[in-house]
Symmetry: C2
Subunit: 122 residues, 2 copies
């Protein structure tokens, strides 16, 4: 994955509606949902749902399959895994061991977050 593809994916995930949408499809994986079922779960008009689904499709985060007169959407998990791999590479930049240790420490004691890289935290 390159930076351009990554920004398209982050843009796809940067709206409340679309993140909810994607998480819903993950929840209903691997069967997915048809558009009408999605509309029942989320409070958006059909038109707007189409718009956001198209953005997720463009980013490659979901797939679409025709099913009679329905359209079934599914989360594309491998693309999400590639995204995670990209962030993992970007966030540590060759300091993977260090980051992994500190992340483990973070999980062990969430209050005292250890720093990975810079010695500052918010």
């Amino acid at each position: 994955m390159d930076a351009k593809q990554a920004t398209v994916i982050f843009e796809a995930l940067s709206s409340d509606v679309r993140l909810d949408l994607f998480r819903l499809l993950v929840k209903y994986a691997p069967e997915g949902l048809v558009a009408g079922e999605i509309a029942k779960h989320l409070k958006v008009t059909n038109t707007n749902l189409s718009f956001h689904l198209k953005m997720l499709l463009y980013a490659g985060l979901v797939t679409m399959e025709k099913e009679g007169r329905f359209l079934r959407y599914r989360a594309n998990i491998p693309v999400m895994l590639d995204t995670i791999a990209y962030l993992t590479a970007e966030c540590c930049s060759g300091r993977n061991e260090q980051c992994r240790e500190q992340h483990a420490a973070n999980l062990a004691s969430p209050v005292a977050l250890l720093e990975c890289g810079p010695a500052k935290k918010i």
Copy 2:
């Protein structure tokens, strides 16, 4: 991390300029860079750089520290690790086995070592 925070982070990463900016700061971690140094690396006006840095700060992805008359910016790696943990949880949603298989099939990248599933981080 909740969905609201996640969308703010994805929004921060959804612009070419800001993704480049964040990756630059990761590259120069843990020392970070002062604003002027950043401006030399990226082709952006100072004003616009300030604007984008502020968004990354708001998302928590970078930290700022005063240094005489300079301002030093650093990537906040723990926040990125939390983001990866969030995506890892979102992408599999209780179907860890299935995702792990897909991930194994995906492992062309030498970097990605994350497993899938909420309680399985690193």
